[in-house]
C-alpha cells in the first residue's frame, strides 16, 4: 500500500469505428497495477507503444473522449475520480513535458510558468515563478523570452519549472530527455532526484533502462499495456538473476553490457492480443498453461510480477 499514488488493475480501451458499422473496442492498457511513494523515483520503462504515455494521461485524466477507463486509482488514499483529477491536475499532480512544443510558441515563458503556481493573491504567482527560476539559474531575461528564443538547456529547466512551481506532490516526467547528450540527461536526472528527495513522488517515464537504473528507487516494466514486473532498481544488476519476469530478463540481456542478445519477435498488436499471458508468443519459458488465462499479479521477493512460473 502506498501513500501517494496507487493504481490497481487499471484498463483503458478505445472505441473505434471500423470500416462499416462495426464498433471495435481496443484495449490498450490491461490490468495495470503500480504505485508511487513519497520521496521515491519510480521509473516506468518499456518499448515504444507499451502504453507509458497512456498511463501518464490516464492518471491525469486527459484521455480523449473515446477512451474507457476501468479499475481503481487512489491518490493520497482517496479515489481519483474524474472530478478529483480535474482538481488535482496541475496543482497536486504535475506533468513535465518532453519538448519545447509543449509550450505555447506565442507566449512569453514567464507567464506560462507562472500560470501553474498557486494563487494566494499579491503577486504570489510571480514570486513563485521567480523563485523557481532562481533555483534553476534562469534569469529575468529568460522570463521575458519566447520559447523559440531559448537554448535547449534553458528550455529543459523551464519545462521542469512548470511542474515545480505548482507545488505538486506527484510529478510525472514523460521522456524528459529524448535524444539528449549524456550530460544533459544527467542534469535532468539530478533535478528529478532532488525533487524526490524533497518528499515528492516522481514517476519517470523513459525508454532508457540504464538512465532509469541510475536514478530510480523502483522500476516498473511495461509490456503491451500492462506492468509485467515492478521491482527495486537494484535488482537490475550483474546477470539479472534477481529479476522476476522473463521479459525483464530479455530486456536486461539485450543491453550492450550484458550480452547484447537481441529479442526476437515484436509486441502483439492491440487489436489482436493473446488470450493468456501477453508475453506468451515471445517467451522462452512458456508452457501450455501460459496461453490459457492472463497471469494474476503476484508478490515475489519485494516486487510484483505477472507470470505464473516465477518463484
Amino acid at each position: 500500500m502506498s501513500d501517494l499514488l496507487e493504481i490497481v488493475d487499471v484498463s483503458v480501451s478505445f472505441t473505434r469505428y471500423e470500416a462499416g458499422l462495426r464498433r471495435q473496442k481496443l484495449e490498450v492498457l490491461s490490468g495495470l497495477s503500480v504505485d508511487v511513494r513519497r520521496g521515491e523515483v519510480l521509473a516506468v520503462i518499456g518499448s515504444s507503444g507499451s502504453g507509458k504515455s497512456l498511463l501518464a494521461h490516464t492518471v491525469l485524466g486527459i484521455l480523449p473522449g473515446n477512451a474507457d477507463v476501468s479499475g481503481l486509482m487512489l491518490f493520497g488514499g482517496e479515489e481519483l475520480t474524474p472530478d478529483r483529477q480535474r482538481q488535482a491536475r496541475g496543482r497536486e499532480i504535475a506533468l513535465v513535458p518532453q519538448a519545447v512544443t509543449f509550450l505555447d510558441p506565442l507566449m512569453r515563458v514567464g507567464p506560462q510558468v507562472r500560470w501553474g503556481a498557486p494563487d494566494n493573491g499579491n503577486g504570489s504567482r510571480t514570486q513563485a515563478q521567480r523563485h523557481v527560476f532562481a533555483r534553476y539559474g534562469l534569469t529575468s531575461e529568460v522570463e521575458r523570452s519566447f520559447p523559440s528564443q531559448l537554448s535547449g538547456g534553458m528550455l529543459r529547466r523551464v519545462l521542469l519549472s512548470t511542474a515545480v512551481v505548482s507545488g505538486a506532490s506527484l510529478i510525472i516526467a514523460d521522456e524528459p530527455t529524448p535524444g539528449l547528450h549524456p550530460e544533459a540527461v544527467a542534469e535532468t536526472m539530478r533535478h528529478l532526484r532532488e525533487l524526490a528527495d524533497e518528499g515528492r513522488g516522481v514517476m519517470l517515464i523513459t525508454h532508457d533502462i540504464e538512465t532509469a537504473i541510475g536514478i530510480a528507487d523502483r522500476i516498473a516494466v511495461l509490456y503491451s499495456g500492462t506492468a509485467v514486473e515492478v521491482c527495486p532498481a537494484r535488482d537490475f544488476v550483474s546477470d539479472g538473476e534477481a529479476l522476476r519476469h522473463p521479459y525483464s530478463h530479455a530486456l536486461w540481456r539485450a543491453l550492450p553490457g550484458n550480452g547484447f542478445t537481441p529479442m526476437t519477435g515484436a509486441q502483439p498488436s492491440y487489436g489482436d492480443l493473446p488470450n493468456g499471458c501477453l508475453f506468451y508468443p515471445r517467451c522462452d519459458r512458456a508452457t501450455r498453461e501460459c496461453a490459457e488465462e492472463r497471469p494474476a499479479l503476484r508478490d515475489v521477493r519485494d516486487g510484483t510480477v505477472r507470470c505464473i512460473h516465477v518463484t
Binding site: A19, R23, G65, N66, A67, V69, S70, G71
Partner: protein, 292 residues
C-alpha cells in the same frame, strides 16, 4: 479492493448504428454520385426541354411561378425554367472546357517546373506570381476585352487565370516523388526524363490532377457567369446564366423576384454540386481519408 469502474467516459460515441448503415467510404461514394446525378439532371433539362417553351408568348408574360412554369416567365412570356436550364448548360460546357484546358496547362507547367531544372522552375514560379498579382476579375476583363468579348474571350481568360494553384500542387507532388526510391532506380537504369515523367510521375499525380480538375469547374463556372454578367462574356442572345441575371437586374424594380431568384439559386446549386463532387472524389482517392 472494490475493483469496480470508478471512471468511464459515457460521452464516448455510441452513435453510428442508428445512422444509415453505411461506412464512411460508402457514404462518400453516395454523396459523390448524388452530386453527379444533380449535374446530370441540369444538363438533361438543358438538352431535353423543348424550344417551344422559349418562344415569345405575349399572352403569358411576367407570370409568377406556377406548375406550368415553375420558375415563372419573363417579359416575353418565355419559360424561365427552360431558359435557366439552357443557360446553366451553356455555362457548364463553357466552364468545363476552359477549366480542362487550364488544368492541362497547370499539369504541363507544374511538371516542367519540377523536372526541367532550376531555370524552368524559376520561370514557372515567376509566371505563377505574375498571374496571381492581378485580381482574377480584372485580368478576365482585360483578356475578354483583348479578344473582343464573346465565348472565345471568356474561355481564354479562364484558361489563363485558373492554372496557378493546381500547377503549384502538381509541382510540389512531383518534387516529392523525385526523391522517391523508384524514380531514382529508374534514373539509374538510364531512363529518359520523358520516360520517367510519363511512366512514373504522371500516374502518381493523376489523382491530384483529377481532383484539381473537378474543383476547377465550379471556379470557372462562377467566373464565367460573373464576367458575362458584367457584360464581357457571352453576347446577349446567347442563353448564358450571367445574361439571364443581368437582364433580371434590369427588371428588378418591377418586383418580379423570380427572374433573379431561381436562376441564381440553380447556379449556386450547380457550383455546390461540383464542389461536393470534387471533395468526395478527393476523399475516395486519398488513402489517408479512405478509412475514416
Amino acid at each position: 479492493m472494490n475493483g469496480a469502474a470508478p471512471q468511464t467516459h459515457p460521452s464516448a460515441g455510441r452513435v453510428s448504428c442508428s445512422r444509415l448503415a453505411l461506412s464512411g467510404r460508402q457514404r462518400t461514394l453516395l454523396t459523390a454520385a448524388l452530386a453527379a446525378l444533380a449535374l446530370g439532371v441540369i444538363v438533361a433539362a438543358g438538352v431535353l426541354l423543348p424550344d417551344t417553351r422559349l418562344a415569345t408568348d405575349l399572352g403569358a408574360r411576367n407570370q409568377a411561378p406556377s406548375l406550368a412554369n415553375p420558375f415563372g416567365t419573363d417579359w416575353l412570356g418565355r419559360d424561365m425554367l427552360t431558359r435557366t436550364a439552357r443557360g446553366l448548360t451553356t455555362s457548364l460546357a463553357l466552364g468545363m472546357a476552359a477549366a480542362s484546358v487550364s488544368a492541362l496547362l497547370a499539369l504541363a507547367l507544374g511538371m516542367a517546373a519540377a523536372t526541367l531544372g532550376k531555370a524552368a522552375d524559376a520561370a514557372v514560379s515567376w509566371l505563377i506570381d505574375l498571374f496571381l498579382s492581378v485580381p482574377h476579375i480584372v485580368l478576365l476583363i482585360l483578356i475578354s476585352f483583348a479578344f473582343g468579348g464573346g465565348a472565345r474571350g471568356v474561355i481564354i481568360g479562364i484558361v489563363l487565370t485558373h492554372w496557378p494553384a493546381l500547377a503549384r500542387i502538381i509541382r510540389a507532388e512531383i518534387l516529392a516523388l523525385r526523391g522517391s526510391e523508384f524514380v531514382r532506380v529508374s534514373r539509374r537504369l538510364g531512363r529518359s526524363n520523358l520516360h520517367i515523367a510519363t511512366r512514373h510521375m504522371f500516374p502518381h499525380v493523376f489523382p491530384q490532377f483529377l481532383v484539381g480538375l473537378i474543383l476547377l469547374f465550379p471556379h470557372a463556372i462562377l467566373h464565367e457567369a460573373a464576367v458575362t454578367f458584367l457584360g464581357f462574356g457571352l453576347p446577349p442572345h446567347e442563353p448564358a446564366v450571367g445574361i439571364i441575371l443581368a437582364e433580371a437586374m434590369m427588371h428588378l424594380s418591377t418586383g418580379r423576384w423570380w427572374l433573379a431568384l431561381f436562376p441564381g439559386l440553380a447556379l449556386l446549386a450547380m457550383v455546390r454540386a461540383f464542389d461536393i463532387l470534387g471533395d468526395n472524389t478527393r476523399a475516395l482517392l486519398d488513402p489517408r481519408t479512405a478509412h475514416e
